[in-house]
């Protein structure tokens, strides 16, 4: 390996530009928007999991004093088939002729205050023809199942099948020869798993304020992972050109993928227009958030894997059936990319099914589909290692993928860092520390996420005092103003504090894809690097003018331009150039066609109470190839946060439905996310294997950490009690059921 480059700023831990506003309560989030003459909106939601809307009578609501507008699905344009996905999103934000889950939006009201809007919503009379619900993939795929969307047809391996169905699609990745692969194995293990529906659980409910002005311009202030994504979805749903829509992203109080789709934005806009062009704010309640946004899929997964006695994997066959919710679009495609990713396999088949059920339309959740997929495959890998008597980390290392090995879909891996991370785990003191309790166990699991490149733009102006105003389009969800500003400051060779980073509206910066796919620090950082190079070139040209020489003779080092004995600092050039010529501004863009993936390995120690089935996490170490960690505190934070969410998914969190399909736990008391008391400190080990195609070696790091925890906890539970769990969550009752089912 070559020596890693020396950086002035990258790898340090400066305070974030937005930090003071966020510790003093000054930062403005989605629900903090206040406009003159603003109205308050409220959404009426379906009390049924599955029903046909027979009629909606809004007259009594409209007649209530203080009510300015009522809107239903009939107020949204009918979208043609060519924008099928957005037709579903449109029907999701306000139901068309059917409601497909408990909490499905049916109507919106705008009134002078929230109390009046809520009262008016209660006066809307909706007559439903209630239909039987289907609540999991087994029911939905069964013959004769109630059908959610009568015009849905299965895309079966690329061909459209005849007949009504709840299966939106079935795809398959295959390589090699399964039969001979399994024939070569000394041991073959096949297991089935079922996992519950879970929510992203961001603490800030969705909120948006919209003004549809009398000149036809629509302005939206909202909490979103992507201002441009919110603009394009709103544009299609409202059938208005993007040129007429401006989205101002507020601060965002967590998203984890759940704030990529729009929910209230188009409804607030329609209400604003109907209310005489007054601004309308809609803020969801927590119950609305749990019932009608997110979640990620419950799933059924079957994994069959074979290995030889000397520890070589020979074949793997996987079936993934994922809940899409009421409309197509589960994360089963990305789950198929995660499920066997850490292992070199020549004989593979992965089948994926996208299945409609009467639950909210699934939205992305941090490494979408990866956690449940890895829970299944990492459980089977662990069982195989145990069956042939190999250490689980050594077994994983022996079968680890390296650069050039092919994924299930045939695409070869780039520089993945899998082997480096596994080796670091084997050498880590945690792995060598003895456990000291009868009901304690240790488990490991691997995880992978492919990440995403996307497109980003940034622009900047150099002020007369040498400070640089940086404008970006990437929502800052966890410190990315800092990580982008650090990369620009590094490139410009100026202090970090001299860069003032701001996230601006869709009219103030070039197109930028959403903050998701762990892409922001990598791709927007690359755009900042390119911007920095452009500004350096312009500053060099201006320095040459000031020094009365040619730009080619000017060198720039440590913040100083030099040529033939003349020296001018960055700040001096900024000041003198401002006095003598045109302003210095620049832009940078990036749209990489290759980007770095991330591989992780987690080690967990836990203790189980055999009387109650409750799991206590004692110690946790997360190791991950993070490329170059720009701001290590925020990289660690991504890993710790992903682990916490993964542990919640593993042992507590689930949507609990009654037989009628009504959600029974739409509160943060009953939807049980981890608290500070449930977790230990979470140790992180940053394995820095730079991504070669990024100027600073950055690879996304935010999603991989949620992939291994459920598998690691399951494997540790087996180590502690000798029981293999095949369900998520591994809540106390489920653990006891499994324990009591063991032969004495």
């Amino acid at each position: 390996m070559t020596a890693s480059p020396q950086y002035r700023i990258l790898g340090s831990r400066p305070p974030r530009p937005d930090g003071v506003d966020k510790v003093t309560g000054r930062a403005v989030y989605g629900n903090d928007t206040r406009l003159p003459a603003m109205l308050y909106g409220h959404i009426l939601r379906s009390p049924h999991a599955h029903a046909r809307i027979v009629s909606i009578d809004t007259s009594r609501a409209e007649a209530l004093p203080g009510v300015y507008a009522v809107a239903t699905g009939a107020d949204l344009p009918q979208l043609a088939d060519r924008v099928e996905d957005l037709r579903y999103t449109s029907n999701n934000v306000l139901a068309d002729d059917k409601v497909l889950y408990d909490g499905h939006a049916v109507a919106g009201v705008a009134a002078v205050d929230l109390g009046t809007a809520e009262e008016a919503a209660g006066l809307i009379e909706v007559i439903y023809e209630v239909l039987p619900p289907v609540m999991d993939v087994h029911q939905a795929m069964a013959d004769g199942a109630p059908i959610l969307l009568s015009d849905l047809r299965t895309d079966e391996l690329g061909e459209v099948l005849e007949g009504e169905t709840n299966i939106a699609s079935h795809f398959r990745h295959e390589r090699g020869d399964l039969e001979s692969g399994f024939a070569a194995a000394d041991i073959v293990i096949e297991r089935e798993f079922n996992t519950a529906t879970v929510h992203q659980g961001y603490v800030e409910p969705h909120a948006a304020t919209a003004l549809w002005n009398a000149d036809g311009r629509i302005t939206i202030w909202c909490s979103t992972q992507g201002a441009f994504a919110a603009r394009s979805q709103t544009s299609i749903i409202l059938q208005q050109p993007v040129s007429k829509i401006t989205v101002n992203p507020t601060e965002i109080g967590g998203g984890f993928g759940g704030k990529i789709p729009v929910y209230v934005e188009p409804v607030a806009a329609v209400l604003s227009k109907k209310a005489g062009h007054r601004p309308v704010k809609i803020a969801m309640s927590r119950a609305d958030v749990i019932k009608a946004t997110g979640p990620t899929s419950g799933s059924y997964i079957k994994v069959k894997m074979g290995a030889t006695n000397d520890g070589t994997l020979t074949a793997a066959k996987v079936v993934l059936a994922y809940e899409a919710g009421g409309y197509p679009g589960s994360p089963v495609p990305s789950a198929s990319g995660v499920v066997l990713a850490p292992y070199k396999l020549d004989n593979v088949q992965v089948d994926g099914y996208d299945v409609l059920v009467n639950k909210p339309k699934a939205s992305p959740y941090r490494a979408p589909g990866g956690t449940n997929a890895a829970f299944a495959s990492e459980s089977v890998v662990d069982e195989l290692a145990s069956a042939i008597g190999m250490d689980p980390l050594e077994f994983r290392l022996q079968n680890a993928v390296a650069e050039g090995d092919r994924q299930a879909n045939g695409i070869p891996f780039g520089r993945i860092g899998c082997i480096e991370t596994l080796q670091t785990a084997i050498d880590h003191p945690h792995y060598a520390t003895p456990l000291d309790g009868k009901f304690q166990g240790r488990g490991v699991a691997a995880g992978y996420w492919m990440n995403w490149g996307g497109k980003s733009s940034v622009s900047a102006s150099v002020n007369a005092d040498g400070s640089v105003s940086l404008l970006e389009g990437s929502t800052d969800i966890g410190g990315s103003r800092a990580s982008i500003a650090m990369q620009l400051a590094e490139t410009l060779d100026i202090p970090y504090e001299q860069v003032n980073a701001q996230v601006v509206s869709t009219d103030q910066v070039g197109y930028t894809d959403l903050t998701g796919g762990s892409r922001t620090t990598a791709t927007t950082g690359m755009a900042a690097y390119n911007l920095g190079q452009n500004l350096r070139a312009e500053m060099t040209r201006r320095a040459a003018e000031l020094m009365e020489t040619e730009p080619e003779t000017v060198t720039y080092e440590n913040g100083v331009f030099s040529s033939n004995g003349s020296r001018l600092s960055f700040n001096e050039v900024a000041e003198q150039a401002d006095a003598s010529g045109a302003p210095i501004v620049g832009t940078g863009t990036a749209a990489p066609d290759q980007w770095g993936a991330a591989f992780g390995l987690h080690i967990v120690d836990l203790e189980v109470d055999p009387e109650t089935g409750k799991i206590e996490i004692l110690r946790y170490t997360a190791l991950q190839n993070v490329g170059k960690a720009i701001h290590p505190s925020y990289v660690e934070g991504q890993m710790q946060g992903g682990v916490a969410q993964g542990i919640g998914w593993a042992i507590n969190e689930e949507y609990v439905y009654g037989d009628d399909g009504k959600l029974l736990n739409a509160s943060l008391l009953d939807y049980r996310m981890p608290t500070s008391l449930d977790l230990p400190m979470i140790e992180t080990v940053l394995v820095e294997v730079p991504w070669p195609d990024h100027p600073y070696g950055v690879r996304g790091c935010g999603e991989t950490p949620i992939v291994p925890p459920a598998g690691a906890v399951a494997n540790a539970l087996n180590d502690a009690l000798g029981v293999r769990m095949n369900v998520l969550p591994m809540s106390p009752g489920k653990v006891l059921e499994q324990l009591w089912a063991q032969p004495a």
Partner: protein, 161 residues
């Protein structure tokens, strides 16, 4: 619309008079009527702690207090926390949350800082377990609590030094 009631209270050391409906929570009035939007609504039923304020020295979920119950009482919100510490622009707890990168999205941060202030007034040198127990009423979905707990430990050390 219901008849409104006059309430006299003290917010962050300043006398405040506001009108509210009987149904309104303290949180709604603090945010919508008084414009102090640093207190956040994450759940509206006392499970997330994002709206925490200190009422006459006691930590409460402001979403579970009716606005008219504030009559004659003293409320400290996140906006007033820095002013309670005269030696610096920020309260040491705020400074330590920044230094430890104890926030990612920041929506839960005001609630955590207010809760921490109440904790350290009650118990200036808490153990890690005591901190974790006290803060169990505040949900954070981004950080896994590691850096928050470290920021609180460091705040206690600085404040009791």
């Amino acid at each position: 619309m219901n008849k409104k009631i006059v309430v006299n209270t003290t917010i962050n050391g300043e006398p405040q008079v506001f009108l509210c409906e009987p149904r309104q929570t303290a949180l709604e009035v603090i945010r919508e009527t008084l414009g102090l939007t640093g207190s956040k609504e994450g759940c509206g039923n006392g499970n997330c702690g994002a709206c925490n304020v200190i009422l006459d020295g006691v930590l409460v979920n402001s979403c579970l207090v009716l606005a008219l119950e504030l009559e004659g009482h003293d409320v400290l919100t996140i906006e007033g926390v820095a002013d309670t510490y005269e030696d610096a622009d920020l309260h040491p707890i705020q400074q330590k949350f920044l230094e430890h990168a104890a926030l990612q999205c920041g929506i839960c941060t005001p609630g955590f800082i207010v809760s921490t202030k109440a904790l350290l007034e009650d118990n200036p040198n808490p153990t890690e377990d005591e901190i974790r127990l006290w803060l169990a009423g505040n949900l954070c979905r981004c950080t896994g609590y590691d850096k928050i707990v470290r920021a609180v430990i460091d705040s206690a050390e600085v404040m009791s030094a």
